[in-house]
């Protein structure tokens, strides 16, 4: 089915936050620190106030009067809205200029004079942990270091024993650098506070409108903004990918100013601000180890991670999981021993990290396991496809308990790898590679066979700031048989207006074209935790199916009444009930719905609606088998991706076209960090590539012609067997590409390169080995 939402976008009638214009609206621009770590000596706003159009300038001292200068983060750390004495990262918000036009606000921003006393920033997370390093979070009483938290999973002693006695142990350091989501629409809001009615409407680029409403009420409740007085509206969003989950200072300042002035305030960040100050993704320093037999059996894995969180832990993970779902790093392989630990540290960088299209840290986990598996294969001289095939969890062993306690719901890893190997012609490619190697030509084949973990999550383990991670659907069918369905999730391009309608249509039999889907307005949508971490299909999609089933149950009662038979005498097919043995006696769902308003049985509630809040019993576990083939120019290090085939298993597929679109998009966001993207800082804390001139987002030229396919192993616990797919490709692609490039270089003794693997890195590695 083609997408219902496309029409407005194609005509330029999308409704994004910067399209909103309200009478009397003011514009906000933010003064930002050029220093990564500095004391603020003085903020001089006099010249700014004289700029035509400037209405006011807000600083930390102004917000301090209302105790709004600090706010909680989603991980229960604290973050500055505006500083009162110290800035902690380059581009940190320092003051906000409010003016009658966008240009006047920018003029005012240029006129604000700030005097700083720069200090030497801590940019290296290892240095930050060294005893004697300056303590960054002097706002935390009794804090004596820069360590945030320590986390562990698995069995430390058992793992040590297995490693000590194993034939083969491989160890590899890997750094997964900081990157940015770069949705084409930046973040922004229009905060509209009505003084007369004490009511705030917050139009905002947010992937989780209800959670944000509750957070605003928690932060600003003490000034009278209680939750029923707040309406958060998430309009059309131009891409989210996790970057529109955090509460950025700009939003809070806009609310504060609107609250104080009673006038709407618009804040739209520009791209440089977005890249330099918004929450980043990744930034994990991983030491990965694998123990196995010399024949190729994996016995155990061990991971140690240093997590660079910038100056505050503003990650968006479920609260009990500071490293997100990183403990999926045991991977797709059948072994029972693993141990992993992580330490998080403060540095003078922007706060974070967001879950950038990775469920929660699954990109990091999968990169670690898929790279170390290839290292293991290289060490024992065995084909990496063979190593994987011989170690996969078998289809019949699901549900399968991992060494870190996850219950994988279903999968057929052998079928996936077999299929992708057939499609690329794996054996012929290895032959070709051998021939090329004999001639000194560089060709690489890289695999990634990953298990994803999405759909957070079951209430017994998952919450964000204490709010459980259920999700919801509310379906109401009108007398003339058309419906409206509202959800607690929020699409940023994933096609919910189409796929949710399809789910309901399949259960209830009302055509998807007749079902209007709405999300994003907290005044009308049922409470939900939003869209990220590939959770919409597993949670809200499930809620839609269950709610639709409740409607079928009500329809049965009405049909029995209309047809004057007992409920047991009825047969259901989506769209109509008929009498068993008398198939010509039917009532369509439309006739039944009409009767719910005009001729319902006495004693039954009139109307035709159902709501369901779905608490998933488990996460879902999509998987995939990807193969990437590269050819490398020895002289220049230039990397050409010859072919990339992705076989994904996301359980039952609701809309094949939309699933494929998600895979294409995720793959391009996967090749990006593998070859092009990383945020680079120098020792003074300057971000060296904070604009799109220097931060390399792939264009249609860098992005290969993706080839995709699927296997289907339905989720046994999901009402329609679906698993979710939005993030699998971003998770699975980087190691496939990295493995391919390193495979091409392995004849020269090159065993690992950190992503992004650029031509320069390739050339340098070859030169160091004397290959060129």
């Amino acid at each position: 089915m083609k997408r219902k939402e496309d029409v407005r976008f194609l005509h330029g009638k999308g409704h994004y936050v910067d399209d909103i214009k309200l009478p009397g609206m003011l514009y906000m621009d933010i003064v930002r620190s050029p220093y990564a770590y500095a004391k603020i000596k003085k903020i001089d706003i006099e010249a700014a106030l004289k700029v035509p159009g400037v209405v006011t300038v807000v600083t930390g001292k102004d917000l301090e009067k209302y105790n709004l200068h600090w706010m909680p983060t989603l991980m229960s750390d604290t973050q500055m809205v505006l500083p009162t004495d110290t800035v902690m990262y380059q581009s940190q918000e320092v003051a906000a200029v409010i003016a009658t036009s966008r240009y006047a606000a920018r003029d005012g921003r240029e006129a604000v004079k700030v005097e700083y006393e720069p200090m030497k920033p801590l940019m290296d997370p290892y240095k930050s942990l060294e005893p004697g390093s300056p303590v960054l979070r002097t706002d935390k009483p009794n804090k004596k270091d820069n360590h945030i938290w320590h986390w562990e999973a698995g069995d430390k002693e058992k793992t040590e024993k297995v490693f000590a006695s194993a034939d083969v142990v491989v160890k590899q350091e890997m750094y997964i650098p900081r990157i940015h989501v770069v949705s084409i629409e930046t973040c922004g809001c229009v905060a509209d506070y009505d003084k007369v009615n004490n009511h705030l409407t917050m139009y905002m680029t947010t992937q989780a409108p209800h959670a944000i409403r509750t957070v605003i009420a928690l932060v600003a409740g003490h000034v009278g903004l209680t939750e029923e007085k707040i309406r958060v509206v998430s309009p059309d969003i131009g891409g989210g990918f996790g970057g529109k989950v955090p509460v950025y200072p700009g939003y809070v300042i806009a609310i504060a100013v609107s609250f104080l002035t009673g006038v709407p305030v618009k804040w739209i960040e520009d791209r440089s601000e977005n890249l330099q100050a918004d929450s980043f993704a990744r930034d994990y320093h991983i030491t990965a180890e694998m123990a196995g037999t010399k024949e190729g059996k994996i016995l155990a894995t061990r991971f140690k991670v240093l997590c660079d969180h910038g100056y505050t832990d503003a990650a968006a993970n479920p609260s009990k999981f500071p490293t997100g779902l990183f403990s999926i790093a045991t991977g797709s392989y059948d072994y029972d021993t693993a141990y992993m630990e992580a330490d998080a540290v403060y540095t003078n960088k922007p706060p974070g990290g967001v879950a950038y299209r990775c469920s929660f840290r699954v990109t990091e986990a999968v990169h670690a396991i898929e790279r170390i598996t290839d290292r293991f294969a290289l060490e024992i001289g065995k084909d990496p496809a063979k190593v994987r095939m011989e170690n996969f969890i078998k289809k019949e062993d699901f549900p399968w308990k991992s060494p870190t306690g996850w219950i994988y719901d279903s999968g057929d890893y052998h079928a996936g790898l077999k299929k992708v190997m057939e499609v690329v012609g794996y054996d012929a490619l290895r032959k070709e590679q051998a021939e090329k190697r004999a001639k000194g030509e560089l060709m690489g084949i890289g695999l990634s066979t990953f298990t994803e973990i999405v759909g957070a999550g079951p209430s017994k383990d998952f919450d964000i700031l204490g709010i459980k991670m259920f999700d919801s659907a509310e379906i109401r069918v009108h007398p003339t048989g058309k419906a409206i369905a509202r959800f607690g999730t929020k699409s940023q391009g994933q096609g919910h207006e189409t796929t949710y309608a399809q789910i309901i249509a399949e259960v209830l039999g009302i055509p998807a074209e007749n079902i209007q889907v709405e999300e994003g307005d907290t005044d009308t949508a049922p409470y939900g935790l939003g869209t990220y971490a590939s959770r919409s299909t597993p949670t809200a999609g499930a809620a839609a199916a269950v709610a639709a089933k409740k409607l079928v149950d009500k329809a049965r009662k009405i049909a029995a009444y209309l047809l004057e038979v007992s409920e047991d005498d009825l047969e259901w097919e989506p769209g109509k009930f008929s009498v068993k043995g008398a198939p010509e006696k039917t009532k369509t769902i439309q006739e039944i719905v009409f009767a719910a308003y005009t001729n319902h049985p006495q004693g039954m509630e009139a109307g035709f609606e159902a709501t369901h809040y779905y608490d998933p019993p488990n996460l879902t576990f999509p998987s995939g088998a990807y193969i990437c083939i590269v050819d490398i120019d020895k002289e220049t290090g230039g990397i050409h991706v010859r072919r990339f085939v992705a076989i994904d298993d996301c359980g039952n597929i609701i809309n094949p076209m939309i699933v494929q679109g998600q895979v294409h998009g995720g793959l391009t966001q996967g090749i990006a960090p593998a070859m092009y993207e990383e945020l680079i800082y120098d020792d003074d804390g300057n971000m060296l590539n904070g604009t799109l001139m220097d931060y390399l987002v792939p264009t249609a030229v860098e992005s290969p012609k993706w080839e995709t396919g699927h296997t289907v192993t339905p989720s046994p616990h999901h009402p329609i067997g679906a698993k979710g797919v939005g993030e699998s490709p971003t998770v699975g692609a980087p190691p496939a590409i990295a493995n391919a490039i390193i495979d091409a270089l392995s004849p020269y003794g090159i065993k690992h390169l950190d992503i992004p693997i650029t031509p320069y890195k390739v050339w340098k590695a070859l030169k160091e080995k004397g290959a060129i």
Binding site: L10, G12, G239, S272, G493, H664, G665, V701, K705
Partner: protein
């Protein structure tokens, strides 16, 4: 000191007052209230602001409004006829060439000039031709497919299947 300019916008002549420094994209979005043209960056890198000026695709964030004086501009709001989609819009819809829709108007305006200059482009020519327009959602495969569809439609030849192809 404001300047008065005359611009033909989507076929209608308009007289407007702008500052010398007003960017064309702001004139389009804020003065003309045509919000289909979007802003995605500040270094002329993303192409979300692409429109046609005298039939050439330009990034309107890097054109001053005064430079449009006496010229004719076309935005996404001006490409369909009486609400019916043109071949490019239809191509994007039939081939799932958009997800969030934010880069889409810019892509369509760029593709419009591309197809005028090269009515029967190869896939590579399309990829190079749209390399000034970033998309973060689609992975580009289906955008290319959409433009190939439009090209076929405009040449009066059968369009390729719009069903997703799987291996």
């Amino acid at each position: 000191m404001n300047k008065q300019i005359t611009v033909t916008v989507n076929g209608t002549q308009q007289t407007l007052e702008v500052e010398p420094r007003t960017l064309l994209v702001h004139m389009i979005r804020e003065i003309l209230n045509l919000t289909g043209t979007h802003i995605g960056c500040d270094t002329t890198s993303c192409g979300a602001c692409t429109i046609l000026m005298d039939d050439k695709s330009v990034k309107s964030c890097t054109v001053l409004a005064v430079q449009a004086n006496g010229k004719s501009i076309t935005t996404i709001e001006g490409v369909s006829t009486e609400g019916a989609m043109n071949p490019l819009q239809e191509g994007f819809k039939e081939n799932h060439g958009l997800h969030c829709g934010f880069c889409t108007p810019g892509m369509i305006m760029r593709a419009t000039e591309l197809l005028v200059n090269n009515p029967n482009p190869t896939e590579d020519e399309i990829r190079w031709g749209i390399s000034g327009n970033l998309c973060r959602c689609t992975g580009y495969n289906n955008i290319v497919k959409a433009i190939l569809y439009a090209s076929a439609k405009m040449r009066g030849v059968p369009t390729a299947s719009t069903e997703p192809e799987f291996v």
